[in-house]
């Protein structure tokens, strides 16, 4: 039965092409050889199965000497036509044929099961055709790629409907009429696809509904409906089959993704501190806001030598004049002086007063406090600083502060001590990892005396931890300790970790200079 159907098809081919070329004989032979395997049935599954079988016999036949002769004869003819066709009118056919090949290779990549067979066959064909088609392949390849992509898209876009077998047949006829070179291509390519061709034609003749999609495909390729489309179809069907398999997997995966996303969302909802994390992130980015170009210029100008004598700003509250000379300690590589540090610490206090909800309640002693405290005989003299912290002078009580910052000046080094009332500990921060337990001892006794003097109560600080902070940014040179010190105070008053390092120092110098010039710390 199958033989009959395939014969019918070959009859068609014969009618359409035998008057134009001697190719019809060839095609007949080819198809006969292709028909060797059992007959195709309507079932697509069976067709898939049977597809690869006929390939091997074809290959062998191609290598046969008699065929070579015929090809040789034909070559001269088709060669000229092909070249003309490419340059004049049938570029589309050529391109289509090649694009189809291109598509097939593409598809074969997707279709893992049949990959090996198809790719090999195509390669073999190319090798055979190479004599007279190589040049045109190269010329049209790019175009073919585009075209094929477009075709696939168009086919997908079109809904599968109103397809008639008539249409398909018309297409076949058209392509048959299109000329010899097309037939030529078809036959050569049919070397391996002959069986598929017959499969298609049987389906066509029987009016199989499934085959309608084939017509649709051809329809979508309206630009150049050729007989090539015949062997395009099985590949398309195969692809469809594999796509169905993949889409099953995709569905499963999509479901899992949806499930995971939902569980993630519920987890997020279960964690209300998410917002707080956001706030902390903002707080961390705030100390690193880059200077605008304007600010940068202003700072560079103020740091220039021409401003040495000029009083740039005066901090009223602390009666400190910042001259250009004093500010120049903020140039890279310079040592920080007490004036800059003291004004900056005043600015930190003003900042906290401005936005009390954002910063911890802090007190910043000036750089001379500790020196004064340890002056005199015995290395500790509370009386000399007793009047430094009266409520009238400060405007607030020292004892209600969360943190009390005490800058420590050690001959040529700056470090920082903190009376951390919030966490009940005394901290010592040295960017060079120095330790001075005497500082913490002195501060502990100071705090006890201070509480006693100001509130009349006795406080026991023996349980308070005396901590030499190890987890802090390390200074890697001999001049930045002042910047480290003021930034330690800055970050601690924000109640965030010391998340900066040596690399940030040039920026901090510029930023501090800007803040001093504006008399406003951010």
């Amino acid at each position: 039965m199958g033989a009959l159907t395939s014969n019918r098809k070959r009859g068609n081919d014969f009618f359409s092409s035998n008057c134009k070329s001697p190719l019809s004989n060839l095609s007949k032979k080819l198809k006969l050889s292709a028909l060797n395997p059992p007959l195709p049935s309507k079932s697509t599954v069976q067709r898939f199965f049977k597809y690869p079988d006929p390939i091997n016999p074809i290959r062998r036949e191609v290598h046969a000497p008699c065929r070579k002769l015929r090809f040789g004869f034909k070559q001269t003819k088709s060669n000229s036509v092909n070249y003309k066709g490419v340059s004049e009118y049938s570029g589309s056919e050529m391109g289509n044929c090649l694009s189809r090949k291109h598509e097939e290779t593409k598809r074969s990549d997707f279709d893992g099961l049949r990959k090996d067979i198809e790719v090999k066959d195509i390669d073999g064909d190319d090798a055979k055709e190479g004599f007279f088609e190589d040049s045109s392949i190269e010329e049209v390849e790019a175009w073919g790629c585009k075209n094929s992509d477009f075709d696939i898209a168009a086919a997908d876009a079109n809904g599968f409907e109103d397809l008639s077998i008539d249409e398909l047949e018309r297409c076949c006829e058209k392509s048959d009429l299109l000329g010899q070179e097309v037939d030529d291509d078809v036959q050569i390519l049919d070397d391996y696809d002959g069986n598929d061709l017959s499969v298609l034609t049987t389906g066509l003749d029987d009016g199989n509904v499934k085959e309608e999609s084939v017509g649709k495909m051809i329809d979508s390729l309206a630009m150049n409906p050729t007989s090539d489309s015949y062997f395009y179809v099985p590949l398309y069907r195969k692809l469809l089959g594999s796509v169905e398999k993949i889409s099953d997997n995709l569905k499963r995966l999509q479901f899992q993704i949806g499930l995971n996303e939902k569980s993630l969302e519920t987890n997020r909802l279960l964690r209300p501190q998410k917002k707080e994390e956001q706030v902390i992130e903002d707080a961390i980015s705030e100390p690193f806001v880059p200077l605008t170009e304007e600010e940068h210029d202003e700072v560079s100008c103020s740091l220039s030598k021409s401003n040495r004598r000029k009083v740039l700003v005066t901090h009223k509250n602390s009666n400190i004049d910042i001259t250009g000379e004093i500010l120049q300690c903020l140039r890279p590589g310079a040592w920080l002086n007490d004036e800059v540090i003291n004004v900056y610490l005043e600015l930190l206090k003003e900042r906290e007063k401005r936005e009390p909800q954002k910063f911890l309640k802090c007190h910043f002693f000036n750089t001379f406090f500790y020196k004064k405290l340890i002056s005199g005989t015995g290395g500790y003299n509370y009386q000399s600083v007793r009047r430094w912290t009266s409520q009238r002078k400060l405007g607030y009580s020292l004892l209600e502060c969360d943190k009390i910052f005490v800058p420590i000046h050690k001959e040529i080094h700056w470090c920082l001590a903190v009376i951390n009332k919030k966490d009940q500990k005394f901290q010592y921060l040295d960017s060079l990892r120095g330790r001075d337990s005497n500082v913490l001892k002195v501060l502990a006794s100071y705090f006890v005396d201070e509480v006693k003097d100001k509130s009349g109560k006795h406080i026991d600080v023996s349980s308070w931890k005396q901590e030499f902070v190890e987890d802090l940014p390390e200074q890697k040179n001999g001049y930045d300790c002042g910047v480290f010190m003021i930034k330690n105070a800055d970050f601690y008053s924000r109640d965030i970790g010391l998340c900066f390092n040596q690399g940030d120092m040039p920026y901090f110098r510029m930023r501090t200079a800007k803040e001093l010039l504006r008399l406003k710390a951010d």
């Binding site: 920080l336 002056s375 600083v385 001075d436």
Partner: protein, 91 residues
């Protein structure tokens, strides 16, 4: 004479090494004059090497004794300027 002596205020300036210098000044005296006098006695050419504090509050050299509210017998702290980078610091 009694009127004149009442006008004068006695101030003490205490150095970091606890040495005290006594000054008898007019309430309308600008602080800068006192600072310069102190500096010259300490063999310093520039008074700006000192920071003068009263009870922890920095004294502006531009203001007068009266403006700063200094009373008879008040003790001013004279601190030498500080700077540091930490290069040669040993513990």
């Amino acid at each position: 004479m009694a009127e004149g002596s009442r006008k004068f205020i006695k101030l003490k300036i205490k150095a970091q090494d606890d040495t005290i210098l006594h000054f008898k000044v007019n309430p309308s005296t600008i602080m800068k004059d006192i600072f310069m006098s102190y500096s010259s006695k300490k063999q310093m050419m520039n008074y700006k090497v000192f920071r003068f504090f009263f009870d922890g509050k920095r004294l502006s050299p531009k203001k007068t004794v009266n403006e700063l509210g200094l009373k008879n017998g008040d003790e001013i702290d004279a601190m030498i300027h500080q700077d540091g980078g930490g290069s040669a610091c040993n513990y």
